[in-house]
């Protein structure tokens, strides 16, 4: 028994050591490919979601589609290279960039200060914020409309939950683990409103009659941007120039109309789209 325990400890320590070695900053030199290297190789590796409709998903014939993919296709064309799509998950996007296994991540990647320390974000191409949807006969247009005994539905672990707990602790929350549960609860009138990412609540209000997004943009407005490996300046600069140039031809509005219009409707086009990397109202912030 004693022996086994000793061995287990040794095993655990070895595992820890291995983990620590891997967590330390990359020992290998530059793990990314520069713009010229990508052009020379003739292929660019772009990480996208393969199951997040309508941003990145796979159509019935196995081809990648969506708002992010529409941009990726255009980048590939302008670079004059083939695109190799890599199916990424939310949890491994940073890892893919840091190891240089993809050149660009275009997977609905929200810009946050923490992430910006790990990867380099290019200019943004979409807005995200929180939104609050409510029944049309009792529209909640501001958080002040929520009564003392009213409950707001949120999904556990989402930004909506974090935001409300932090900034409006007086609001009573009703938490659900899954999207489907929250949806059912909301439809059954268990709460006066439902707070979630604004794209989610807008899509919900369009798909379901009788609901209005009273607060389309709440909390800090975040943006979605392409990301490259930290330090890959040539590619980052090219991307930024490309996004500004695309803005001049209203590319992202065309992208919206081709991929997001069915889900979010025309009313929210200007709320969601960022053209040429310029965030509305605060041009400097885009830098």
């Amino acid at each position: 028994m004693k022996k086994i325990r000793k061995n287990t400890i040794i095993a655990a320590l070895t595992a820890l050591g291995l983990g620590a070695a891997l967590a330390s900053p990359a020992l290998a030199d530059e793990s990314f490919r520069t713009l010229d290297e990508i052009k020379e190789s003739g292929t660019i590796n772009i990480g996208v979601f393969s199951d997040k409709s309508p941003f990145g998903y796979v159509g019935e014939n196995g081809d990648y589609q969506g708002y992010d993919v529409y941009l990726a296709e255009h980048l590939g064309e302008d670079l004059g290279v083939e695109i190799n799509y890599v199916s990424t998950e939310a949890a491994n996007r940073i890892e893919y960039l840091q190891t240089g296994k993809v050149d660009i991540i275009l997977a609905n990647f929200t810009v946050t200060p923490e992430r910006a320390e790990e990867v380099d974000f290019a200019l943004p191409y979409m807005n995200v914020a929180l939104g609050v949807v409510s029944p049309e006969d009792a529209v909640i247009e501001s958080l002040d409309d929520i009564g003392e005994d009213d409950q707001v539905i949120v999904i556990s672990g989402t930004t909506a939950e974090t935001y409300l707990v932090k900034n409006n602790p007086e609001i009573k929350l009703q938490k659900y683990d899954a999207y489907a549960e929250a949806k059912t609860a909301f439809e059954n009138g268990n709460g006066v409103a439902w707070a979630n990412d604004n794209t989610e609540v807008i899509a919900f209000s369009i798909e379901n009659e009788g609901y209005v997004v009273g607060i389309p943009s709440l909390g800090s407005a975040d943006t979605i941007a392409p990301a490259v490996t930290k330090g890959n300046e040539t590619l980052l600069n090219w991307l930024n120039e490309e996004i500004v140039a695309l803005g001049e031809e209203n590319f992202f509005h065309a992208d919206y109309e081709a991929t997001l219009l069915d889900t979010y409707g025309a009313d929210y086009e200007d709320t969601l789209v960022i053209e040429g990397g310029a965030v509305a109202g605060s041009e400097t912030e885009a830098e």
């Binding site: 040794i10 070895t14 595992a15 030199d29 199951d51 997040k52 998950e89 491994n92 840091q98």
Partner: protein, 224 residues
């Protein structure tokens, strides 16, 4: 509940994509199992070694495999090797390495169990017949071990096939991932597709694993 959403599988090449995903999962597990069996026999022999050092080392190896979730191993092998050694492994190669690393340890433990279950008298009888230690192992012990081993290792195959669903984390699109892709792509037109698609995926896993586990049961009966 108008439709269970199985119809989405008939759109375009969806069903073919699902089968391709299934083949990816089965291919990874078959290759890994084949290598694991070969290396596992070696590992099992080392586990029964007389040297304490070898035994401790093998014990540590087995414990690492058991403690570490396969997901962590996948990340270490796929991303970690690139970070630390600058080695760029194909995702599928990384998956096979992880599954083999895991399979060899489990197989080794099974071999160890099978080896010590062979009664001492078998060794002694072989020696009495004038066989060398190697010959005794090769002609007397190993054949009996392999018999006891086959049913057990087949169970390992089914476990491996089921665990392949983790390889989506390193970008491999296997059957479950294709299923999720199909469900998401049809979220608006067939909201119930999740039920039908997952039912079909379940059936596919079942059709692959069931015959394998029946075979194990039959061999167990015949050779026990």
């Amino acid at each position: 509940m108008q439709s269970l959403g199985i119809d989405v599988l008939l759109k375009g090449s969806n069903f073919l994509r699902l089968l391709t995903g299934l083949w990816t999962a089965v291919r990874i597990s078959l290759i890994s199992v084949a290598i694991s069996i070969a290396l596992g026999i070696l590992a099992g022999m080392l586990m029964t070694s007389k040297s304490t050092l070898v035994k401790v080392l093998m014990r540590v190896y087995l414990e690492i495999v058991r403690i570490m979730p396969q997901m962590v191993l996948l990340f270490i092998v796929y991303f970690g090797t690139t970070r630390v050694f600058g080695l760029n492994l194909e995702a599928e190669t990384a998956a096979i390495i992880v599954f083999t690393f895991w399979g060899t340890a489990e197989m080794g433990d099974l071999v160890r169990g099978a080896l010590i279950s062979i009664p001492r008298i078998q060794y002694e009888s072989a020696a009495a017949l004038g066989m060398s230690e190697t010959a005794a192992f090769r002609y007397v012990i190993l054949p009996q071990t392999v018999r006891r081993l086959i049913p057990l290792s087949i169970n390992l195959i089914t476990r491996m096939i089921k665990t392949t669903s983790l390889v989506m984390m390193i970008g491999i699109v296997e059957v479950l991932k294709v299923g999720q892709q199909i469900i998401e792509a049809n979220r608006k037109t067939s909201p119930n597709a999740a039920f039908g698609v997952f039912a079909v995926v379940f059936l596919m896993y079942f059709l692959i694993c069931w015959p394998v586990s029946r075979l194990a049961a039959r061999l167990e009966k015949r050779w026990a």
